[in-house]
């Protein structure tokens, strides 16, 4: 995973050279540690000014009313003005594209960024919306009933970074 994160950071850095206000915004839940790790790499590469935020898309989901349980809200934390920022949305897996649609909608309620890009650790098949990533850590080919699960040590707390492909039966 470290290599994929480094590749993402390098690509983001190359494409945003000289950008005045570069902001990484992680989509809850596992886009958040991804954003932190990319930011860490960018800082190590000398890009000290990169901004960090998080976004909780729950209230923008198109399936909220259909969910059996009401999700606990994490809240969005964007502690800077996103007007005119170069925003890179970060998510661990890009699947249907629905979360990204929700994240873009929410982002625009916070302000008017100059540009919005998308960085994902894993790009998998199954798009339901016309959304494509700008930066991809790894492209994975899986069948529609398989699930790609990314685990970050700092969020999942089981002492490992990992990417699992699970068949639907194995999903807990």
């Amino acid at each position: 995973m470290a290599g994929a994160v480094r590749r993402l950071a390098e690509a983001i850095s190359a494409k945003n050279k000289g950008a005045r206000k570069l902001a990484l915004i992680g989509i809850h839940k596992r886009g958040v540690p991804l954003a932190w790790r990319i930011a860490h790499e960018l800082r190590a590469m000398g890009d000290a000014d990169v901004l960090i935020g998080t976004i909780d898309i729950t209230q923008y989901r198109d399936d909220l009313a259909m969910m059996k349980m009401v999700p606990k809200l994490e809240g969005s934390d964007i502690p800077f003005d996103i007007d005119d920022a170069q925003v890179v949305l970060c998510d661990e897996v890009l699947f249907t594209g629905r979360s990204v649609r929700a994240a873009i909608d929410e982002l625009l309620d916070h302000g008017r960024p100059a540009r919005v890009q998308l960085a994902v650790l894993i790009d998998r098949d199954g798009r339901e919306f016309p959304i494509q990533p700008d930066y991809v850590g790894e492209k994975v080919s899986v069948s529609p009933d398989e699930r790609v699960a990314v685990r970050f040590e700092e969020v999942d707390g089981d002492g490992e970074d990992a990417v699992y492909v699970q068949t639907s039966k194995a999903v807990k």
């Binding site: 209230q59 349980m69 009401v70 606990k72 809200l73 994490e74 809240g75 909608d105 625009l108 309620d109």
Partner: protein, 311 residues
């Protein structure tokens, strides 16, 4: 968390549900600092306010909450409707049912009316005050406000002052604060103290004794001005002198760092003075702001047609 259909009182809430509503209210409050103070959560839903008793504040608080969730809002004007011509509550509900509203916010002078409505509609019903019975969203916003001040409510002390007997606010708020581990005491004239009080609630008849109990918060109840003419109720001046937050008492509170709350609207010169309103530890405006966030959190949690309605 499983959604519920209605919010009728504090008693029927589980501890987990209380925590869920209070914690979700935090991100809702953060929203007020955003350029667009609105989320699409309830787009396409309709909230109707049905107030048999006038209350501009509570009603607007619900309306602002619903509009920040993108719900459509409509008001059933009881005064000018056929209700005054004798239409029963249930006939009105049948009409609302046909209008397919999703949330009904009810206030009524008679206890139990929101429960009755909830039983007869698929819409989610929120009790916005029924008689002396309950006012659950007020209690939740009070608890939320106190959680912003005290990291841990357990062991903190709230003194509730005023017409405890006839106050649904006292009833709901006192219950919730105790559920959250706070100590609660009452200060009231004997004629306005309820007969049956749980033994863990100390009762005081004057400020000196009540302040010796060392409260962290003084919660002033609103004096219903129409009651001032009743035989067992003191006059406004008398009430102020004996139970109000006079300037001298504000000074004592200041020295001791005690917070002040009030459900609003205040009667200046009766429950509280101008200086009391300007006192730096008065949380009354915070209560108003928090009321919107907490009501958003309640609307977010309830779901029309969900299980857990009144049976």
């Amino acid at each position: 968390m499983n959604p519920r259909k209605d919010l009728l009182d504090i008693q029927s809430l589980t501890d987990e549900e209380i925590t869920f509503v209070l914690e979700n209210a935090v991100p809702f409050k953060d929203l007020f600092r955003r350029s667009v103070k609105k989320v699409p959560t309830l787009k396409g839903r309709t909230m109707l306010t049905l107030f048999y008793e006038p209350s501009t504040r509570t009603r607007s608080s619900f309306e602002v909450a619903a509009s920040r969730l993108s719900a459509d809002i409509t008001h059933f004007d009881v005064e000018s409707s056929s209700v005054v011509k004798g239409e029963s509550v249930l006939d009105t509900v049948e009409t609302l049912e046909a209008m397919k509203v999703d949330y009904i916010v009810v206030r009524h002078k008679q206890a139990g009316i929101p429960n009755l409505i909830a039983k007869n509609t698929a819409a989610s019903v929120i009790n916005a005050g029924d008689g002396w019975h309950a006012h659950p969203t007020q209690a939740l916003l009070d608890a939320f406000t106190l959680r912003e001040i005290f990291k841990d409510l357990r062991g903190a002390r709230t003194l509730i002052v005023g017409d405890i007997q006839h106050s649904r606010v006292a009833r709901s708020t006192s219950l919730l604060l105790r559920r959250l581990g706070m100590n609660v005491a009452y200060l009231a004239p004997g004629s306005l103290m309820p007969r049956e009080i749980p033994p863990e609630i100390p009762q005081f008849g004057n400020w000196t004794d009540a302040l010796d109990w060392k409260p962290d918060v003084v919660y002033l109840l609103r004096v219903q001005t129409e009651r001032l003419d009743e035989p067992f109720f003191p006059s406004a001046a008398e009430y102020h002198k004996n139970y109000g937050l006079t300037d001298a008492r504000v000074q004592i509170l200041r020295e001791r760092g005690i917070y002040v709350m009030h459900p609003g609207p205040v009667n200046r010169g009766v429950e509280i003075t101008d200086k009391g309103m300007d006192y730096e530890r008065t949380l009354i405006n915070a209560q108003v702001e928090n009321g919107i966030a907490v009501r958003m959190s309640v609307l977010y949690w309830l779901r029309p047609g969900a299980e857990g309605g009144v049976s």
